[in-house]
């Protein structure tokens, strides 16, 4: 089976590189073909990379609390760029302060993200969710 391709990176003015590397290794290890854009990635960069590489999903990380602002409008831009329906996944410290994650998740889903993950989520959980989103279990 052809490997599924992910585009990943840390969004906005966020320079947290360690988690990004860990996730990159975890995704690669799990059998994904990964385009890692590193830190300080803009919405446009994720989209351009996804178009050229014909990515199956975009994984957005955010550690510095501004994720909600940074992610706004991303789904609409994907639609505009011809990536209609591409799975969008987000995770990390994606909002400021202590908030109930159910509320946070609801807001990100309303913004068009397929899945949102709270701080401390192990990579395995995200990998499992990606496999479901990309219907990999059924195909295997």
């Amino acid at each position: 089976m052809k490997k599924k391709k992910l585009v990943m990176g840390v969004i906005g003015a966020d320079v947290h590189a360690v988690g990004n590397r860990i996730l990159y290794f975890a995704f690669t290890e799990a059998g994904f073909d990964v385009v890692n854009l590193g830190v300080m990635v803009s919405q446009e960069e994720y989209i351009a990379a996804a178009i050229e590489s014909a990515a199956d999903a975009i994984v957005v990380s955010s550690l510095y609390g501004q994720g909600e602002l940074d992610c706004r409008g991303m789904r609409e831009k994907c639609d505009e760029a011809g990536l209609k329906g591409i799975p969008l996944v987000v995770g990390g410290n994606i909002v400021i302060g202590k908030q109930k994650f159910e509320d946070v998740e609801k807001r990100f889903k309303a913004m068009g993200f397929d899945r949102a993950f709270p701080p401390g989520t192990p990579p395995e959980t995200t990998i499992q969710a990606l496999k479901e989103l990309l219907h990999m279990e059924e195909e295997a």
Binding site: D14, V15, L37, E52
Partner: protein
């Protein structure tokens, strides 16, 4: 003595350079008008007569030529995303010495196709998608082309998955497949495409441009002129076996219609606090500013630099500058008399041509505050540590204030985020030998390098001024 003749068929002048390979020295240079309408051999003969008047009769062991006559190598490219594969295709074409008339991105439309047929390029470079990535766009574009009866070679250098299918779609046309210009996301791989462009230039373009009449006289027209300049500059920077280079450099060629900038430098971020954004650029990078030139594109310089800076630098008032510029547009052949207003204006124009073109060529830095403190985001090449500037092109090698003009390539406190050299030694190509040395470097790199080191005139050292 073992003389070798090097010829540059330019759009206006045919330039000849004679070199003694054994003595590693320049024997002489001369030029005459290019005669593309009748027989390029005529212009060549005229130039040779002038040359031999200086040197006496010479019996050449070999004759090599490069050409930018008849419009140069005219190319059109199409890629997918503008900043990614379309940019990679543009870089590959410029690096091969081409004149890129148009860069298309995403799917070609009927209007685009009409424009391409109208331009009728010498070569079309078709790319798009990383290997294993998007195939839709390049296949669509191949189909759009196939639906017309175009007559130019097409190079396919996109997603390898789609290459053979593109070839089938374009069956019946001259098609060349080569490696993807961007095989992996963010990785530039433009050398195979550059190589292919040069091959096609050699086999096909030379005949088509009426240059083959001269082919009997010479051992071969090897490459487009900018490609020869690129080779010379790379040799000068890096050196070769037995002779060291002068290190990272920038070369500026301010012409009548365009300004070419070459940089030989890695240019990647120098410290860990800097994040690089965008497509990495090649070590040997060439850019062409089509709107910046001393005569045909003089208005482009004024537009980019602003009339007030031209006035300030030339010491002329607004109305006088405007008057002179109108004259230049009406008669682009005008050369300045010493001490004339036009000489003062030319000083200002060439200074601004260099400043504008090098600023566009060099990368830039942006400051961003993050929770981790101040971070720098770099895009394009960091040329701040480049210490050598080579100056060529008629307008610069004839003036006496070359070092002052060239100093405008340096970083300026007025534009602190532009990553231009902080200080540099200026070298001037007074005898106009760079393209010839690029040709020679194919056969005798050591000799070519030694001659360049000897003949490029040291014209002083400049540092960023605190104005």
């Amino acid at each position: 003595m073992k003389p070798v003749l090097l010829i540059d068929f330019g759009s206006t002048f045919t330039k000849v350079t004679a070199v003694d390979i054994e003595g590693e020295r320049l024997l002489g240079t001369a030029d005459s008008y290019t005669t593309i309408e009748t027989d390029v051999g005529e212009g060549l003969e005229n130039a040779l007569k002038k040359l031999h008047a200086q040197t006496g009769p010479l019996h050449y062991a070999a004759r090599y030529a490069c050409s930018s006559a008849a419009g140069g190598l005219r190319m059109v490219t199409s890629g997918l995303v503008p900043e990614l594969t379309a940019e990679a295709a543009y870089q590959a074409s410029l690096g091969a010495g081409a004149k890129v008339l148009k860069v298309f991105s995403f799917q070609l439309t009927e209007d685009d196709i009409a424009e391409i047929l109208q331009i009728n390029p010498d070569i079309f470079l078709l790319v798009g998608g990383t290997d294993g990535g998007n195939t839709e766009c390049i296949l669509h574009n191949a189909r759009m082309l196939a639906a017309t009866n175009f007559d130019f070679p097409v190079i396919i250098a996109g997603n390898r998955t789609a290459a053979r299918e593109c070839e089938r779609i374009l069956a019946g046309h001259e098609v060349h497949i080569c490696e993807n210009v961007m095989p992996k996301f963010g990785t530039l791989n433009i050398e195979p495409a550059r190589q292919k462009i040069r091959e096609i230039f050699l086999h096909r373009i030379v005949q088509a441009k009426g240059l083959s009449q001269a082919a009997e006289l010479i051992s071969g027209i090897l490459m487009p002129t900018p490609s020869a300049v690129m080779k010379a500059m790379r040799l000068l920077a890096e050196g070769c076996e037995g002779e060291s280079g002068i290190g990272d450099l920038i070369a500026v060629d301010v012409g009548g219609a365009t300004t070419d900038i070459y940089s030989m430098a890695d240019g990647m971020p120098r410290d860990a606090a800097t994040v690089y954004k965008g497509l990495p650029e090649p070590y040997d990078k060439r850019t062409v500013e089509g709107d910046i030139g001393m005569r045909y594109s003089v208005r482009g310089i004024v537009e980019a630099a602003g009339l007030s800076r031209i006035c300030q630098l030339s010491g002329l008032d607004k109305s006088r500058v405007e008057e002179l510029i109108d004259q230049l547009c009406a008669a682009p052949d005008t050369l300045p008399a010493p001490g004339s207003d036009l000489e003062k204006l030319d000083f200002a124009l060439s200074s601004m041509a260099i400043e504008t073109a090098v600023t566009r060529h060099a990368g830039s830095m942006e400051e961003t505050y993050t929770l981790m403190g101040l971070t720098y985001v770099q895009s394009g090449k960091d040329l701040r540590s480049v210490r050598q500037i080579i100056v060529t092109g008629g307008s610069l090698i004839r003036t006496r204030r070359t070092d002052e003009i060239a100093a405008h390539a340096l970083a300026s406190p007025l534009a602190p985020m532009s990553l231009r050299p902080l200080k540099a030694d200026i070298h001037v190509d007074r005898k106009y030998i760079i393209a010839a040395m690029g040709l020679l470097s194919e056969y005798a790199p050591q000799t070519a390098l030694r001659i360049m080191k000897k003949e490029l005139e040291y014209n002083g050292h400049s540092e960023q001024k605190n104005s």
